[in-house]
Amino acid sequence: MTVSPGIIDFGYRVLRARTAFSSSRIALRTAVVSAALFAVAVGFAFVALFLGDYPLSLQDVASAMSGRAEEFVSMVVIQWRLPVAVSAVLFGALLGIGGAIFQSLTRNPLGSPDVIGFDAGAYTAVVVVMLAAGSQHAWSIAGAAIGGGLLTALVVYLFAYRRGMQGFRLIVVGIAVSATLGSVNSYLITRADLDDAMQVGFWGAGSLSRVTWSTLVPVIAISLAVIATTILLAPALRSMELGDDMAVSHGTRVGGARAALLVAGVATTALVTAAAGPIGFIALAAPQLARRLTRSPGVSVLAAAAMGSALLSAAHLLSHVLAIVFRPVPVGLITVCIGGIYLIVLLIRESRSRSGAAR
């Protein structure tokens, strides 16, 4: 890998990686910012290891990590807290990737999976499975979340498709479908037994604390495939941002690339929702915040992943701190509240700029 202006001057410093089969380049600033954000994410997740009902010292954690601690401490760190900390970093990255893919494909900063109804669909499916079918099993809930989310995303796309896809239409159709699903949820929740309804409420709030190694390992395996797909298709994604015609003339197979990217984007959100419940607004905010930090012209998948990790780890740490000073707050509620406020600020800014980009 070399840092050089190279033969072509891109106007910014780039890192190149060249092998016999492929060559890629990445802006130096993007690489540095992403590395820093990932470091921040890991740092936050590490600090969260110390916090909880059973406070631990640095020495406890270090000895547990190296396998020399007493059995109980080792169990707390390795079996209970470590999977949650890993999931904060990994899920954040997945949400960031999903958001970056959807925002690039819809060419709209608001086109993230949570805005276009994926979360609402997953939630409804889980409500149906937990309340109507009465199943509390982790795998059936995960399956319902993925199935419901996919089906809703498909329905939203079909309704929004009319001689091409418009970001504006996609978002409003997503809102309409979410509103209907939301009222179906309320109907089921008001008719359910109180304890069951509370269970659903906790699931719907989105929390990392229920993640264990047995649920995390399959997620990691699938995530690696998804991330690999996205890395391979990132150049195609970038050229499709210029419009389909331009992408075709660059040699991108637009149809196939778009289908594969859609599957990858939906899979990221589906994995997270299945394992932790809906965690809103990270997918929306991460790519845009990353774009501002890296000053890149478009959405960068790598930077969005790093920013997503940092955001979710920060929310995770915040939820631990809140648990100590006040009450345990599910991490999904923290991201919804902070992310919602961020979206409002984004909207105000956007409508102040003359054109109003969300058309």
Partner: protein
């Protein structure tokens, strides 16, 4: 202006030919007939299987028979409330669409329901509120706060697009909903009292509460009718409206006040019924044309019909149980919203 209009002795100022007059009276006739029909339907249909004859006899000849008691003490208050709530929501929708020049505006979508729900949750969770009468004021406060907030967010920009305002409402609803969820999840009793409230219903309201809120609704309706003329001017754009002698600022402030009274009052009583304020003004606009005076009056007639029919549907589909009217309107309303954005000129208003 057509010569026929001049010769008829009643000069028309809106430039519409006489040919459309029968059509227009047909529109008003249709709206009134629909209202009357849905009124009777709402009296006739319910969980208790009374025949039409029994209902009619109980209605015109009030006595101590079971049918008469059901019609007069159960169905009549509910139906009248439905009409009042429908009027309030329809007119609030028409006003908010006219003021923001946004065809997708609706009190529910813009976060009024979430605001009311949040305030009630705070009241119950943190201040130990219980009972409907206490809910009313908190809900009113929350609904009013959310209305003003979304309007301010929407009007901060010079050129706020329809979807920006809708998203501002969605974001606000998400934040308030998240905070409400937190408050309900930490306390089971709060969860139990709140979970039914947010589902809009006209079945559980008590007469006392209606009497408390009715003055606000009436004031809001009066304001709306009074503002209708200046809304026509505002529809031309702020500059043109000012040059026509309309005080844009006054119209906007009074308009937001009217929306707050109508949507806030309706939400406080019912818990929030979405999409009525979105759908009705569109349908009325197709029938009456773009004059705001006609749209507002038309919405006041058409929205109660929609609300009552939705309520009747909710009483029928899961007999002997009921589905709340707010759920029925959401299921009907979402396809309408989708159809609106699929039309080519979605933002044309």
């Amino acid at each position: 202006m057509h010569s026929t209009a001049l010769s008829s002795g009643t000069p028309r100022t809106d430039g519409v030919s006489d040919a459309s007059v029968p059509r227009r009276s047909a529109v008003w006739g249709l709206l009134l007939a629909a209202l009357l029909l849905s009124f009777l339907l709402s009296l006739a249909v319910g969980a208790n299987p009374l025949s039409v004859g029994q209902v009619w006899k109980g209605l015109v000849d009030p006595d101590t028979s079971e049918a008469s008691i059901i019609v007069w003490t159960e169905r009549m208050p509910r139906t009248l409330l439905g009409i009042a709530i429908g009027m309030a929501l329809g007119v609030a929708g028409a006003l908010i669409q006219a003021l923001t020049r946004n065809p997708l505006a609706d009190p529910g979508i813009l976060g009024v329901n979430a605001g009311a729900g949040f305030a009630v949750t705070i009241g119950v969770g943190l201040f130990g509120l219980s009972g409907m009468t206490g809910y009313i004021w908190w809900a009113f406060l929350g609904a009013a706060g959310a209305t003003v907030l979304v309007y301010v967010i929407g009007s901060l920009g010079r050129n706020t697009s329809p979807v920006t305002m809708v998203l501002a409402g969605v974001a606000l609803s998400a934040v308030l909903g998240g905070l409400s969820t937190f408050l309900t999840l930490i306390d089971e009793t709060t969860f139990e009292s709140i979970r039914a409230w947010g589902v809009g219903s006209i079945a559980r309201v008590r007469v006392d509460d209606v009497m408390t809120v009715l003055p606000f609704l009436l004031l809001g309706l009066a304001l709306a009718v009074g503002l209708a003329g200046s809304l026509n001017a505002v529809a031309l754009g702020d500059d043109l409206a000012a040059s026509l002698g309309t005080s844009v600022m006054r119209t906007r402030v009074l308009g937001v006040l009217a929306i707050t009274l109508l949507a806030g009052g309706a939400t406080a009583l019912t818990g929030g019924i979405g999409f009525v304020g979105l759908m009705v003004p569109h349908v009325v606009r197709w029938m009456t044309g773009p004059d705001q005076r006609r749209i507002i009056i038309g919405s006041a007639l058409a929205a109660p019909s929609l609300l009552l029919v939705s309520d009747v549907v909710g009483r029928i589909v899961v007999r002997p149980g009921e589905i709340e009217v707010g759920i029925v309107t959401a299921v009907i309303g979402a396809p309408v919203l989708i159809a609106l954005v699929r039309r080519r000129k979605a933002s044309g208003l």
